[in-house]
C-alpha cells in the first residue's frame, strides 16, 4: 500500500471521527430559566401563553365572581386551588397546596408544568418532548394527560369521579380531549391552552339538548326533556355555584288576542339543575349525569295553548330577586324552543 493511499485513509478516518464527534456532541445548553413568573414562558411560547392568558385558569385569582364568593379571599380555604403550588411538587392525584407568591398569576404555567429533578432539585418543565438543551429543560411527562392530573383541583366537586363512572371513561375520552383539544386536530401543533369550560357558552350548548312534546299520558300537558349529550361528567359540574334553570312563559300573553301583538311575559321558573352547597341540606342534588335525560312536566293551564321554554346557565347560583328572577339579565341562554299545539 503506498504512502498516499495510507495517508488518504488516515485522513478519511480522521474526518469521519471528527464528523461523528461533532454529531454526537450535544448543542451547548441554553442557560436555565429562572422560574420566578409564568411571564418567562411567554419569551419562547408566546402563542401558548396568550391562549392561557385568555383562559379562566389565568383569571382564577382576579375573577370577580371568585373574589366576591370568597369574600376577597378572606375565606383562605379557596387559595388552595386558586393559587396552587406546582402540581408535581405535591403529586398527581393528590390534593394541591396553596402558594404564597405570584398569586395573581392564578393557575399558571408554573403550577401545571414545573418539575424538579429528583436528585439535584434543578427545575424543569413537564411537557411532551425531552429537550435537555432548552432553557426550561422540558421532559416528556404523560401524567399531564391523565384526568387525575386535572382532578387535583377539579375533583373537589367530584368531576373526575363523575367522568370515571361515565361511558366517556370507558371510551377513553378524557378531560383534555374536550377541554384542551389538539390545535387544528394536528398532534404536531400541540393542545389548546385556553381550556374552555363553563364560561364558554358554545361548549355549554354542546353539552345538553332541550326537547319538548305533548305528554303522552296527559295530552293537555307538555313534557320537556333535557339530555346530557356532550359532557363527560354531570351537567352542571365542578362548582356548586353553577346552575342551569328551565324557564317558560306563555306563547300568547294573557289578554292578548293576537300572538303577533303580544309582548312576552316574564319568565317563570320551572326546574333547576344543580349540586347544592353543603349547608343547603334542604335542596336536592339535581345535576344531570353524563348521558342522562331528565323529563320535566309543564302542566300549567296557561301553557296549554303554547309556550316558550328556555334553558339558562348561571355561574353563580342566586338571582337578585328569587321571587322574580330575570334570567335574560342574570344568566345566559343555552337553548330555547317553542311549544305549539
Amino acid at each position: 500500500m503506498d504512502l498516499r493511499r495510507v495517508t488518504g485513509l488516515v485522513a478519511l478516518a480522521l474526518a469521519l471521527w471528527l464528523a461523528l464527534a461533532l454529531l454526537n456532541h450535544p448543542a451547548p445548553a441554553a442557560p436555565p430559566v429562572n422560574f420566578d413568573s409564568s411571564n418567562r414562558c411567554a419569551e419562547c411560547h408566546p402563542a401558548v401563553f396568550d391562549e392561557w392568558k385568555s383562559s379562566w385558569h389565568a383569571r382564577s385569582w382576579d375573577d370577580p365572581d371568585v373574589r366576591a364568593l370568597s369574600n376577597d379571599f378572606a375565606n383562605t380555604d379557596c387559595i388552595d386551588c386558586h393559587a396552587p403550588r406546582p402540581v408535581f411538587s405535591t403529586g398527581v392525584g393528590k390534593r394541591v397546596l396553596p402558594r404564597a407568591a405570584r398569586r395573581s398569576e392564578g393557575v399558571d404555567c408554573i403550577a401545571c408544568h414545573l418539575i424538579r429533578d429528583a436528585d439535584t432539585g434543578a427545575p424543569g418543565v413537564a411537557g411532551t418532548i425531552d429537550r435537555p438543551g432548552a432553557a426550561c429543560r422540558p421532559r416528556a411527562m404523560l401524567d399531564l394527560q391523565r384526568p387525575d392530573y386535572c382532578g387535583v383541583c377539579h375533583d373537589q366537586h367530584k368531576t373526575v369521579r363523575q367522568w370515571r363512572a361515565s361511558s366517556w371513561a370507558e371510551r377513553g375520552i378524557g378531560c383534555i380531549d374536550c377541554h384542551m383539544p389538539l390545535r387544528n386536530d394536528d398532534p404536531n401543533q400541540g393542545r389548546d391552552h385556553s381550556c374552555r369550560g363553563g364560561h364558554d357558552l358554545e361548549l355549554v350548548r354542546s353539552a345538553v339538548e332541550l326537547r319538548g312534546k305533548r305528554d303522552p299520558q296527559n295530552p293537555l300537558n307538555w313534557v320537556l326533556e333535557v339530555e346530557n349529550v356532550g359532557a363527560g361528567h354531570h351537567f352542571p359540574t365542578d362548582e356548586r355555584s353553577r346552575a342551569a334553570d328551565l324557564f317558560w312563559r306563555p306563547l300568547v300573553a294573557v289578554g292578548a288576542t293576537n300572538a303577533d301583538d303580544a309582548q312576552p311575559g316574564p319568565w317563570r321558573h320551572l326546574y333547576r339543575f344543580r349540586d347544592p352547597y353543603r349547608h343547603e341540606t334542604d335542596i336536592p342534588a339535581t345535576h344531570l349525569a353524563a348521558g342522562e335525560t331528565r323529563r320535566v312536566s309543564l302542566g300549567e293551564e296557561e301553557a296549554r295553548a303554547g309556550a316558550e321554554v328556555a334553558l339558562f346557565y348561571k355561574l353563580t347560583p342566586y338571582y337578585e330577586n328569587p321571587d322574580h328572577p330575570d334570567p335574560e339579565r342574570e344568566a345566559r341562554l343555552v337553548h330555547s324552543l317553542t311549544l305549539k299545539p
Partner: protein, 527 residues
C-alpha cells in the same frame, strides 16, 4: 434629598443582606420530622382508656328490658306536662339508672323517624342520667352533640345544645367529670357552628360554646347582633333582640368581664381558654388534626378541620405546634394555617413556627402564621428571610406577614427592597405591606396606581383600598369610593369593589374597567 435617602436605604438593604449572609452563619437546620400525629393519636387513645372511670358501657339488645324501660320513660316524659308529676316520675326513674341506659337513650335520640317530642324527652333524660352516673357522662354528651349536629329539627338541635351547656356548667359532686365530658364535644359543636342556619339553634349553640369557655360562641352572638339575625324563639322582634342581649350579657357575668367587648378582646388576645384539655378533648382534637392529612383528595374535611381548630383556645396551639413536625406535609402546612387563623391565641406555638421557618416546604405558611400571631423575635425572623438569597415563596410570605404584623422596624428594609427588587409580583406585595405600615410614600402609591391596570390589578386595588381608608386625601378617597358603589354610566358597573360590599358581582371586564377608571383619578389636574 430624596436621592440621598434612596441611596441610604439601598445601602441599608445591601448591608442587611450582607449582614444576614455573614451573621447567620450556617443556616438553621430544619426540624426533624416524624410520625407525630400517629404517636399522638395512640397516646391520646391510651390516656382516654386509662382514665379512672368505671368500665365502658354496654349497649343492650333491641328487645332488652332496659330498652323497654327507657322507651317507657321517654314516652311518659314526652306525653306529660313538663312540670307535672308524671314528668317528675320519669326523671326520677331515669336517675335510678343504670348508666347503660345512656346508650339506649342515645339511640332513641338519634332515631329520625321518632316523634320530636319523644326525641326531646330522650335528650332531657340523657342529661338526667349523666348527672346521676358519672360513667354515663361521656356517652350522654356524645349522643347530645351528635344529635345537635345531625338532627333535622332546629328545635331538637337547640334543646341538645342547651343541655350540653347545662352539663358543662354543672356544680356539685361529679361536676368535673360532666364538665370534661361536655368540653370534649367542643370540636363537634364548633363544626356545627359552621353550618347552622337556624337562628334560634345558632344562638343556643353559641351560648353553649360560651358556657364551655369558647370565644367562637361569643363571636357568633356578636355577629348575630350586628347582622340582625335574631334567635326567633321569642314572640316579638323586640323580645328576640332582648334574648340575644341577655345571652351577651350573660357572657360578661360568666367570664368575669365588665363588658362584652372586654371579654371578646380577652379571647382574641389568648388570655382565655388556656385550661389544658382533658383526655377526651385532647383525643377529639387530635382526630380533628388527623382530618388535615393528605390522603383524601377532597378539601371538605380539611376546610372543616381548619374551621374547628382555628376556633379552639390557646391550649390547642400546643397540639398544633407538635403537628408542625409531622412527616405529612399536608398536616404541617394546614396546622400552620390554623395557627395563623387563631391569631394571638396561637402564641404558644410561636417557637415551633420560628423553627418551622427552616423547613423549606412549610416556611411560607409558618411565616404567614407568625405574621398573625406576632410577639418577641417574630419581626426579626421575618426580616431575615426577605433577602435575595431566599425562595420567592418565602420572601413574599414574610413581606406579607410583616405588613400584617405592623412591624415598624420593617419600614426601612421594605422600602429598600421595593427600590431594588426586579420582581413585579414581589413589588406589589411590598407595596401592600408598606401601606399597612402606613409608610407608603408617593413612589409606592404611584406604583400601585400603575399596577391597577396590570395583571396584579386586584392586588393593587386591594392595597389602595387600605390606603384610601387610612391615609388618602378625603377628596380622593371619596372619588375612589364613588367608583366602588355607584353605577358607572355606560359600563353597567354597579358591583362590589375590593371592599366586598354586598352588590351585584361585576363581570371581569367591568371590574377591569372600574380599576381603569380608578387609575384615572390620579390623572386629574393638581394630582
Amino acid at each position: 434629598m430624596r436621592r440621598a435617602v434612596t441611596c441610604l436605604c439601598l445601602a441599608v438593604a445591601a448591608c442587611g443582606d450582607a449582614a444576614q449572609d455573614a451573621s447567620s452563619g450556617p443556616r438553621r437546620q430544619p426540624p426533624a420530622l416524624g410520625a407525630v400525629l400517629e404517636a399522638a393519636l395512640v397516646a391520646a387513645e391510651t390516656a382516654v382508656q386509662a382514665e379512672t372511670r368505671p368500665a365502658a358501657l354496654a349497649l343492650p339488645g333491641p328487645d332488652s328490658e332496659l330498652r323497654e324501660r327507657m322507651l317507657g320513660l321517654v314516652e311518659l316524659l314526652a306525653s306529660s306536662p313538663p312540670a307535672g308529676e308524671m314528668a317528675s316520675i320519669a326523671r326520677e326513674d331515669a336517675a335510678a339508672g343504670p348508666a347503660d341506659g345512656a346508650l339506649v337513650l342515645g339511640q332513641l335520640l338519634a332515631e329520625e323517624g321518632r316523634a320530636l317530642r319523644q326525641r326531646r324527652a330522650a335528650a332531657e333524660l340523657l342529661a338526667v342520667l349523666a348527672r346521676a352516673f358519672p360513667a354515663a357522662a361521656d356517652a350522654a354528651c356524645e349522643a347530645l352533640s351528635l344529635a345537635q349536629g345531625n338532627a333535622q329539627e332546629p328545635a331538637l338541635r337547640r334543646t341538645c345544645a342547651d343541655l350540653i351547656g347545662d352539663l358543662g356548667t354543672s356544680t356539685g359532686p361529679g361536676a368535673a367529670t360532666l364538665r370534661e365530658a361536655a368540653r370534649s364535644q367542643l370540636p363537634r359543636l364548633l363544626l356545627r357552628l359552621k353550618y347552622e342556619e337556624d337562628n334560634s339553634a345558632a344562638a343556643a349553640l353559641a351560648r353553649t360554646l360560651v358556657e364551655l369557655g369558647n370565644g367562637a360562641g361569643l363571636a357568633m352572638l356578636l355577629e348575630m347582633e350586628s347582622s340582625g339575625r335574631l334567635p326567633g324563639t321569642a314572640d316579638s322582634t323586640d323580645s328576640q333582640a332582648h334574648e340575644l342581649e341577655r345571652a351577651l350579657d350573660s357572657v360578661t357575668a360568666m367570664w368575669g368581664y365588665s363588658s362584652v367587648a372586654a371579654a371578646d378582646a380577652a379571647w382574641t388576645r389568648g388570655e382565655l381558654g388556656q385550661q389544658a384539655p382533658g383526655p377526651g378533648l385532647r383525643l377529639a382534637t387530635w382526630h380533628t388534626i388527623a382530618a388535615l392529612r393528605g390522603e383524601r383528595i377532597q378539601l371538605r374535611g380539611v376546610d372543616d378541620g381548619r374551621f374547628v381548630l382555628a376556633r379552639l383556645g390557646p391550649w390547642a396551639a400546643r397540639l398544633l405546634a407538635r403537628a408542625l413536625t409531622d412527616e405529612d406535609i399536608y398536616v404541617r402546612i394546614h396546622s400552620a394555617q390554623c395557627l395563623g387563623r387563631m391569631g394571638q391565641r396561637g402564641a404558644p406555638a410561636r417557637e415551633a413556627l420560628l423553627a418551622a421557618l427552616a423547613d423549606p416546604l412549610l416556611a411560607p405558611q409558618a411565616a404567614e402564621a407568625l405574621g398573625a400571631i406576632g410577639g418577641a423575635g417574630v419581626g426579626a425572623a421575618l426580616l431575615a428571610s426577605i433577602g435575595t438569597g431566599q425562595e420567592a415563596e418565602l420572601r413574599a410570605a414574610c413581606v406579607r406577614a410583616l405588613g400584617e404584623l405592623g412591624e415598624p422596624t420593617a419600614v426601612v428594609p421594605l422600602r429598600a427592597l421595593f427600590g431594588t427588587t426586579e420582581s413585579p409580583a414581589l413589588s406589589v406585595v411590598i407595596a401592600r405591606a408598606l401601606v399597612e405600615l402606613k409608610s407608603a410614600d408617593p413612589p409606592v402609591i404611584d406604583f400601585l396606581v400603575r399596577e391597577l391596570v396590570s395583571d396584579a390589578g386586584p392586588l393593587a386595588e386591594s392595597a389602595l383600598e387600605v390606603w384610601m381608608a387610612t391615609e388618602a386625601p378625603p377628596d380622593l378617597a371619596a372619588a375612589w369610593a364613588a367608583l366602588s358603589s355607584a353605577v358607572i354610566p355606560g359600563t353597567g358597573i354597579s358591583g362590589a369593589g375590593a371592599s366586598g360590599e354586598s352588590a351585584p358581582i361585576p363581570t371581569l371586564a367591568q371590574a377591569r374597567e372600574r380599576r381603569r377608571r380608578r387609575a384615572e383619578l390620579w390623572e386629574s389636574p393638581g394630582r
